[in-house]
Amino acid sequence: MSSPLWKRGVRGDFVEIFKSIGVRGPMEFYIKVLEITCLHTILVLGAYLMTGLTGLFSLGQGGFVSIGAYTASIAYLHFNVPFPMAILMAVLMGSAVGFLIGIPTLRLHRDYFLLVTFGFGEMIRAALLHLAQLTGGALGIAGIPKLVDLPMILISILFITFLIYNLKRSRFGRNCIAIRDDELAASLMGINVYSHKMKVFILSSAITSYGGALYAFLIMFIEPNLFNWLESAKLIIITFVGGVNSITGAIIASVVYYSFGEFFRFVDVWRDVLLALAVLFVTIFRPGGIFGSWELSPTKLFSWRAKKG
């Protein structure tokens, strides 16, 4: 533990991790890392819709992850709801809570909205701790079967990206950006700002609780501290580093950040320092995020390949 950074071999470190998470070989480890990474990408997509596209800074995303995870696990374990139905229930629950939280908070502006969503996230955490009969309190819920695998997560990412990309390139996305840029001008261009923010909030909550539900059936154990406000803040930071106007940027930044963390465990505590530095450099030299507003689209990909070939 106290050996200097440069003496700690990557290989030795990996073996340690293998043991700790009970995997047998490197392949299994890589898949595990990929699963966790891709799952976080789903959460980043939820945050992208809200913070990146619409400019709503929410520190309550973690609350929705927990709502999704707990709803699905409790439905599955205690009420014998089939797995797909449990996921669906988690999404519906997330959307419903999103709607209820949205009614008072969406009238607030930037910093106030941030504070209230922060409070909401912590409220969910406290509620999960104290509703011990249902949630197991601080002990959490163990014994959730692993029903989620990599292909399932990847298909989810593709599907969610498809939805968000479609929204971004038509009226919905334009309205989001217009609201982010100038709320007053947006409402004078005929956009119902409040109801549009509500749609964004509900959709983002649905995606995030979907991610949370999958998360529970991936890591097989959940507890109230699973997703605190720091994790919510990371989602926002990743969105910003990747590029506020770019889904591509958000996805790539998310994959890099979460897998970087796993593959470079040997940098240890320096991981967060590196992230902080990266954020600092990006905000100074590329205020629009690494990818700015560049977007990888099927047509671009196609024309690029055609040019090459």
Partner: protein
């Protein structure tokens, strides 16, 4: 026909009376001017008409419909759009998308259709783009569709804002100092464009403006505000000779 009718509208800001018992009538296919010294409450009148601020007293009627207290987006939907004194374009949307945003109220597809790119979305997006491009051409901006608005020269930004306001297909257009920051040549172009627009699109226009030449040339009726109060109304040639107006502009000694 009366397009807009404001009945003794007032607005106070913390005891300061920004607009005091102002009344006006806008007739169809006419251009009306609201003039007055700085801080006279001209822009506040626009903000009251478009629902940015709630009225303290009075009523506003639009084509025989009471629009008092309606939210801004509903008022836009009914057919009143505006431009701003300090340009307010959407900086993260390109020129074409700035126009497309304004057409959002006319588009009929739903969010669900949007998500899966239903054929109707594609079709209406195509129509929107075609319309946006025709407005770009109308204002001589067709080359700049892919650029971001704040990279354009100031005069073009003003034109883009005008194009965006038209894109929402208004019946009444409110222009807040459209000539501010423009050079004489551009002002001349603006006058021509406004007159052309008025005829071709059967528009009614209200202009808040300092530039007297522009106002005197194209307005049929003028309202003069000073310290929130209407001090005169009438045709431009009468206003030019009005004692109270001269006093407000030149001071008591004048």
């Amino acid at each position: 026909m009366e397009v807009l009718k404001a009945i003794s509208i007032s607005k106070n800001f913390g005891g300061v009376s920004a607009v005091d018992q102002f009344a006006m009538v806008q007739r169809e296919n006419e251009i009306t001017g609201i003039i007055g010294p700085n801080g006279a409450g001209k822009t506040t009148v626009f903000n009251l008409i478009t629902g940015v601020y709630p009225l303290d007293t009075g009523e506003i009627w639009f084509y025989g419909k009471n629009i008092t207290g309606l939210p801004s987006h509903r008022i836009t939907d009914l057919g009143i759009t505006r431009t701003f004194q300090n340009i307010r374009l959407f900086r993260n949307l390109n020129v074409l998308d700035n126009l497309r945003v304004a057409y959002g109220i006319k588009v009929r597809y739903t969010v669900w259709e949007e998500m899966i790119r239903w054929p109707r979305v594609k079709r209406e997006e195509g129509e929107t783009e075609e319309l946006a491009r025709s407005y770009l051409a109308y204002f001589g901006l067709e080359k700049y569709g892919d650029m971001f608005p704040y990279n354009l020269p100031y005069g073009l930004q003003r034109r883009l804002e005008l194009a965006r306001a038209l894109m929402a297909n208004p019946k009444l257009l409110l222009l807040d100092e459209p000539a501010a920051g423009l050079n004489p040549k551009e002002i001349h172009q603006l006058i021509e464009t406004l007159l052309k627009m008025k005829e071709e699109k059967n528009l009614s226009i209200i202009i808040v403006e300092h530039h007297m030449e522009l106002v005197m040339n194209i307005c049929k009726m003028l309202y003069v505000l000073n310290f929130g109060k209407k001090i005169a109304e009438g045709e431009p040639k009468d206003i030019q000779r009005n004692e109270a107006v001269l006093q407000a502009y030149l001071g008591d000694e004048g």
